[in-house]
Symmetry: C2
Subunit: 223 residues, 2 copies
DNA sequence: ATTACTAATCATCGAGTAG
DNA sequence: TCTACTCGATGATTAGTAA
């Protein structure tokens, strides 16, 4: 029931689950109901849901009655990729709008971004020297999927380096506009913060935009 | 090679052709090249392109050498529908941004829209009485596909009527914002102008926005 | 009610090859 | 070279049915 050819159907099924709301909250659907939605038999729909589960694209809470389905992060990412493709087709070269809430980092951002090894590269790539420190934006739900689009996209490359025995990893940079202010999204190649977006800028964003923790912001990222 | 199940593959193939630019201009691709793009054999790709052609989704100019492919209006519409679905998933309840150029109608707009049978309904649905007359916007290329999305969408219904032996057809209404001004898109149920969008508003748009023929405008339509 | 197994059916794919 | 046919293999879909 799985294979290379089924990927399209997986995406199609995910799309319909997403339209039912399964990205944001668990959705109660029987295999029979779902079968009608995607135009297959109950048996095929059941198998399809099994496939999606095995592929890690959905979560199921299944009782003897109907089942509750949620789309996983990797499922949402697959959909977001598809969305990005179609967006490119219709809206021209891509920008991606991500929404999230300002959050406090651990203060480590300033230390890392302040390193000359990074600053020199930023200046070369962006034309200006950003202030040391990053504005951290916490992403939730469907917005998380957009971050994955960035992970898959090619950005401006920032190389890693070592300084005084300490190693500093590589990163990718995407130009962005955050609440009308130009800046750049920094995506470390290795990070544990898969739910936050780090933004640097020539201005001190938190001060310039008067942002407090929890403030909602929009970031338009250029791909 | 055709059937109900192949629709997904058709869409997938159309997407890749669109990414190659085939919505806007003819693209030169051999079946072998296309095979690599979509991950199939040359034979399957050839059959797929035949399918798309038979289904009226693409146009082909085929010589003994490679072929030139363009996506048809109905092909673009299929993609736009898919895009609208995914847009709804990620950006919440739908708005659709359409771009086009201001064009002169035949002056008939003012006559039709001025009819009391229409004006009364507009006032009820929109809360205000729009000025008699419509701003016509000519659509091209990928934007045409978006109009088809509107044709398939449910809008506010305006009924037809007769007055003095003359019949006036029904229409659909979508709220919209055009260059920052609130208005509504009028979609006559029967029209020959499949490439123009008609916008009404409480203000005289052409005057208020200082629009001359050919001016590019953006319309954000609420679905 | 449900989910999901098995067997039979049928569509789709790739290889070979003709035009 | 290219497109696109036929055919055998593969794999997905359905019906019947168990749990």
């Amino acid at each position: 029931m799985s294979g290379e050819r089924a990927k399209l159907q997986h995406l199609h099924a995910l799309k319909h689950l997403a339209l039912l709301g399964a990205i944001r909250f668990p959705v109660r659907v029987s295999s029979g109901e779902f079968a009608e939605v995607i135009g297959l038999s109950q048996q095929a729909a059941s198998g399809l849901l099994l496939d999606l589960f095995k592929a890690g694209l959905i979560r199921r809470e299944i009782s003897s009655r109907k089942q509750h389905i949620t789309i996983t992060e990797s499922g949402a990412a697959a959909l977001a990729l598809e969305h990005a493709d179609l967006h490119r087709v219709f809206e021209g070269a891509g920008t991606l709008e991500v929404r999230g809430a300002v959050t406090s980092g651990l203060g480590e951002g300033a230390y890392y971004m302040g390193q000359d090894g990074y600053q020199a590269q930023f200046e070369k790539l962006l034309g200006t020297r950003p202030v040391a420190g990053t504005l951290n934006i916490r992403l939730q739900g469907a917005e998380l999927a957009k971050r994955q689009v960035l992970e898959n996209a090619k950005g401006m490359e920032v190389s890693g380096f070592t300084d005084g025995g300490r190693t500093f990893g590589g990163a990718k940079l995407f130009r962005c506009v955050i609440e009308g202010v130009e800046g750049a999204v920094v995506m470390p190649l290795r990070t544990h913060h898969r739910d936050t977006l780090e933004v640097i800028s020539r201005k001190h964003l938190r001060r310039a935009l008067k942002l407090e923790d929890g403030a909602k912001v929009r970031v338009r990222v250029q791909l």
